[in-house]
Amino acid sequence: MNLFEPFTIPYMQRALVEVLVLGALAGAVGVLVVLRRLAFVGDALTHTVFPGVVMAHLLGRSLLLGALAFGVLTAVLLTAVGRHRRVGDDAALAILLTSFFSLGVVLISRTRGFTADLTVFLFGRVLAVDRTDLVQTLTVAAVAAIVLAALHKELVLRAFDPEATAAMGYRTGTLDLALNLLIALVVVAAVEAVGTVLVIALIVVPAAAARLLADRVGAMTALACLLGAAGGWLGLAVSYEASVDHGVRLAAGATIVVVLVGLFLLAAAVAPLRRRRAAAGGHP
């Protein structure tokens, strides 16, 4: 299988840049999602952003802006919900998630030929990414990366010891909002590439795999970025080869996710061996 040849074609090049950047960014943000056990919140965010994407499409405006507006709104809502214990986090999240998502489906189903549009929003269309889309993705990714780098040590502290974080004078509510906004930014950036349903895999799977292999947040983050980018690259190469050389149509976005899960399974298989080797080596 050729890992380089498909990428001499311009649309494949753009798709590659898109998935490399998204994979790395989602991996880095995913580390915090996995450490804080926020995968469900992350998933909820991907569903609540959906009506924003639909509305932007119906109004003929940039999908990115629609997703961004709803991303910010829902990040604020989810942070507020997370801090009130009455209803129970899961129940409140499930209500938000399903109601927003249904709103999006209702809106889109009023147009003719809606199933095609729905598929794009849900599963992405990375091979149709043009120069403008790429620039938008890179801009959003750059903003997210800067915010993540600036707040990283405080976000890790909050993940490890929320009580001490508050005692040291940090506002944990603001930190939680910042992380939710970061997740929302990743979802927004990924909407056109892999769609809202699959972006959660990009966020969670590389970080979960890295968690199995790394004992430090730094190493875990580097590994998650690497795995995220590698999954994107391999997924594109595999789906290209399948469709061009073997006539089998594999959706690029979904293939990337399958590759990522494969990498996770590989990590899961390697991890116990690593632990045994470390124990035999007499680590303290």
Partner: protein, 252 residues
Amino acid sequence: MDPDLVLVLRRATVAYDRDPVVEGVDGEVAAGQSVALIGPNGAGKSTLIRAVLGLVPLTGGTIQALGRSPQAARRQVAYVPQADILDAEFPVSALQVVLMGRYPRVGWVRRPGAADRQVAARALAEVGLAERASARFGTLSGGQRQRVLLARAIAQEPRLLLLDEPFNGVDALSQDLLLAALARLRAGGAAVVMATHDLGLAHLACDEVCLLNRHQIGFGPIGTTLTPELLRATYGGQALQLRGDGVIVARP
């Protein structure tokens, strides 16, 4: 206010929805002094600690830490929670946990520098864990983890230290090392307030005691305040646990 006083409480009261959780706490802690907060479960010890940290608002009375409100004094106040509430699988080393104590001084965006690392390394050595600096936090024993959390507080260079049951489930060696580190902190001028169930350790580590059972029953030198009658008033008919040796049951 006397500059030597690190903590002043005047009829401090905390209530949730008009239901007082702890009320009428009145006392002073000077630099270098150590106070044990003693009382049964639910007495309000943790709530009082959170009030001194400025994490819960007072509904009555005042608290002044270093002459300021609790929120304003936070930079000079360090908190040591119980180690067993933390995630043992978290991918962080002992030294990295101690380094977290430097974050408020480092500030936003910037990373800890060489000077911060030195302070952290020294704090870890103070609690006898220098050679475990790169061990993952979760691989340490309970007592060692508690020592790491104290080292994190030491790295904050505080003038007031608050500890919540620091000796719970801690091995004897760790206990001795914790006591020694606390003594050094006090010698350096820091004041210590610790919630504890262990009356024997309270005698070893503290010179004052505050007896709580939702309201203050006594606050003063340990010799004159930790008396059988006041203990009976604090604990009601419950059992009192002495260090390892046995149990006294106070008759109602």
